[in-house]
C-alpha cells in the first residue's frame, strides 16, 4: 500500500474515511514507521496549537470597543457626547455599505419622485422649501429632501411605518387592515401647503444647516447619506425620523430625534435597526 500523506492521516483522525479505507490505513500504520512519524507530526501540531500562550485583549482595543458601545443608543434617552463623535459608524462593514448604497440609490429615486410634485405644488409660497433646499446645497452630507408625512410613529408600528416611508407602495397593501396611522397616503400628500411640521420642529426644518448638523450628530463620524428624513411625531411628541443605511447588510437604522437635535446632542428619542424593505430592490415604480 502507498504511504499515508498528512491529508489522509488527518482524515483518519477525524473519522472521515470509509470503514474500508480506515482499515487499510490502520494496517499500513502498524507496519510503517515513516507514516507513524507523520501521524505524530499531526499530533504535535495539535499540541502546539492547544498550548499557545494566553492573549488578553490589548487595553487599547478594549477601550476602543467600550467607547463604540457606549456611543450606541439604548432604549433610554442618551445624548451622544461630542467626545464620542468618532464612534461606531467609523467602522462600518464594507459589505453592508455596498448593499446599502444600492438601496440608497433606489430610495433616493423614490424620494425625488415623491418630492418633485412637492416643489411644483408649493413653489408659490414655500419659504420652508427654499430653506430646505439651501440646506441641502450647502451641506457636505447630501441630504434627501425631507418629507413631512406627519406619521404618528410609535414603538408598535415602527416595523411597518418605517418601511412604508422608504417604499410607499409596499405599505399600501398593509395599511387597510391595520388600525394605526398609515404612512403611504401621508407621504403622497406631504406636499400640501397645510403639511408643515409641528412648530417645535421648525428650527430643524427651516434653519439652513440645522438639519445637516443634526444628521452629523447622529452619525457621529464619517457620514453616510440618509435614505430618508421625515418630519413627524414619535409616541405623540414632535420628532424627526432619519433613516440611515444599516451597518449590517439588509438593515436600515431608524433614528428618531427631538426638536433640539444638534451636532453635539441629538436629543435621541429612539433608535431601532430594521430590515431594509425587500420590495425596494426590484422596481422603483412607486
Amino acid at each position: 500500500m502507498t504511504h499515508l500523506d498528512l491529508d489522509r492521516l488527518a482524515d483518519l483522525e477525524e473519522d472521515l474515511l470509509t470503514p474500508d479505507e480506515e482499515g487499510a490505513a490502520q494496517t499500513h500504520l502498524d507496519e510503517c514507521a515513516e507514516c507513524r512519524a507523520r501521524q505524530a507530526q499531526l499530533a504535535d501540531t495539535r499540541a502546539v496549537l492547544s498550548n499557545l500562550p494566553p492573549e488578553p485583549m490589548p487595553a487599547a482595543v478594549s477601550a476602543r470597543i467600550e467607547a463604540a458601545l457606549s456611543a450606541l443608543p439604548s432604549t433610554t434617552i442618551v445624548p451622544l457626547a461630542a467626545s464620542k463623535r468618532r464612534g461606531w459608524r467609523a467602522h462600518p462593514t464594507a459589505a453592508g455599505l455596498g448593499a446599502a448604497a444600492s438601496v440608497a440609490a433606489l430610495v433616493a429615486a423614490l424620494v425625488v419622485g415623491r418630492t418633485s410634485s412637492h416643489d411644483s405644488s408649493s413653489s408659490a409660497g414655500g419659504s420652508a422649501e427654499t430653506a430646505g433646499a439651501a440646506g441641502t446645497a450647502t451641506s457636505s452630507i447630501p441630504l434627501p429632501p425631507p418629507s413631512v408625512t406627519g406619521t404618528k410613529y410609535s414603538f408598535h408600528n415602527l416595523g411597518r411605518t418605517v418601511p412604508a416611508l422608504l417604499h410607499p407602495s409596499a405599505a399600501l397593501a398593509v395599511a387597510p387592515n391595520t388600525g394605526a396611522q398609515p404612512a403611504p397616503q401621508a407621504s403622497k400628500r406631504s406636499t400640501d401647503a397645510s403639511a408643515s411640521p409641528p412648530a417645535a420642529l421648525s428650527r430643524l426644518f427651516t434653519t439652513p444647516g440645522a438639519l445637516e448638523a443634526c444628521v452629523r450628530g447622529i452619525e457621529g463620524g464619517p457620514a453616510a447619506q440618509p435614505l430618508a428624513i421625515d418630519f413627524a411625531t414619535f409616541q405623540g411628541a414632535p420628532a424627526v425620523l432619519v433613516i440611515l443605511p444599516g451597518l449590517d447588510q439588509g438593515k436600515v437604522d431608524a433614528w428618531f430625534v427631538g426638536p433640539s437635535c444638534t451636532s453635539t446632542d441629538v436629543n435621541l428619542l429612539r433608535y431601532r435597526s430594521l430590515p431594509a424593505p425587500a420590495s425596494a430592490a426590484p422596481s422603483p415604480g412607486g
Partner: protein, 206 residues
C-alpha cells in the same frame, strides 16, 4: 427558611443579556468584560492580524449589542457571541484579497530555527502566520477546536455548519499546518526512527 439568591450574586450571561434588552446600560459592558479575551483570541488567531481582529471584534460586539433583544436563548450566550464574532471575521477576511480563498499548494516549511531555539512568543507568531495562510474557514475551525478547545458540536453551532464540515475543515487545516510547522515540534527529528504514536493528547488511542 432558605434565603433567596443574594442580589449581589454574579448574574448569568443570560441574565445580563435580558437586562441589556430591557435597557440596562451596564449589562452588556459586563458581558463584554467577561468574554472579551476569548473573543479576542479567536479573532486574532483566525485573522492573523491585530488590526483586523480589533475591527472584527468591534463590529461583532456592536452587532451583538443591537441584536441582544433578538437572542432567543437557543444557544449558550458564549456560543451566540462566538458565532457573531466568527461571522464578522469571515466577512472581513473575504473582503481581503490577500487571503487565499483556495487551498494552498504544498507550502514549504519555513526556514526557521528549531523549536528549542524559539521562545513562546516566536512560536506564537509563527503559528499566527501559518494560520493566516489557511483558507479562513479552515483557520476558524482549527482555532475554535484545537486552540480554544471547544467541542466539535459547539463549533458546528458557532460556524452554522454540520459537524462533518467542522471535522473536515479541521483535518484540512491541521494537515497544512503540520506540513508547515514541523520544525516547531521536532520531537522526532529523524523520520526514519520509529515513534510511539502515543502522542501528548488524548487522540491516539481511539
Amino acid at each position: 427558611m432558605p434565603s433567596p439568591p443574594a442580589e449581589s450574586a454574579e448574574p448569568s450571561d443570560r441574565e445580563l443579556l435580558e437586562r441589556h434588552s430591557s435597557g440596562d446600560r451596564d449589562a452588556f459592558g459586563e458581558l463584554v468584560r467577561r468574554h472579551r479575551d476569548r473573543l479576542w483570541r479567536v479573532a486574532l488567531r483566525t485573522l492573523g492580524d491585530p488590526d483586523d481582529a480589533a475591527d472584527a471584534v468591534q463590529d461583532a460586539l456592536v452587532s451583538a449589542f443591537r441584536a441582544g433583544s433578538s437572542y432567543r436563548g437557543e444557544a449558550a450566550v458564549t456560543t451566540w457571541l462566538h458565532r457573531i464574532v466568527v461571522n464578522s471575521c469571515l466577512d472581513l477576511a473575504r473582503r481581503r484579497t490577500s487571503r487565499p480563498t483556495t487551498p494552498l499548494a504544498d507550502s514549504p516549511a519555513l526556514a526557521m530555527p528549531a523549536a528549542d531555539a524559539l521562545g513562546a512568543r516566536e512560536t506564537s507568531t509563527e503559528i499566527l502566520a501559518a494560520l493566516r495562510d489557511l483558507p479562513i474557514e479552515q483557520a476558524a475551525a482549527v482555532v475554535l477546536v484545537d486552540v480554544e478547545g471547544y467541542p466539535v458540536a459547539d463549533v458546528a453551532e458557532m460556524l452554522e455548519v454540520p459537524t462533518g464540515t467542522v471535522k473536515s475543515r479541521c483535518a484540512r487545516g491541521r494537515s497544512r499546518l503540520a506540513a508547515r510547522l514541523q520544525h516547531l515540534a521536532p520531537r522526532n527529528p529523524d523520520p526514519q526512527l520509529p515513534v510511539q504514536p502515543g502522542a501528548p493528547k488524548d487522540e491516539e488511542g481511539r
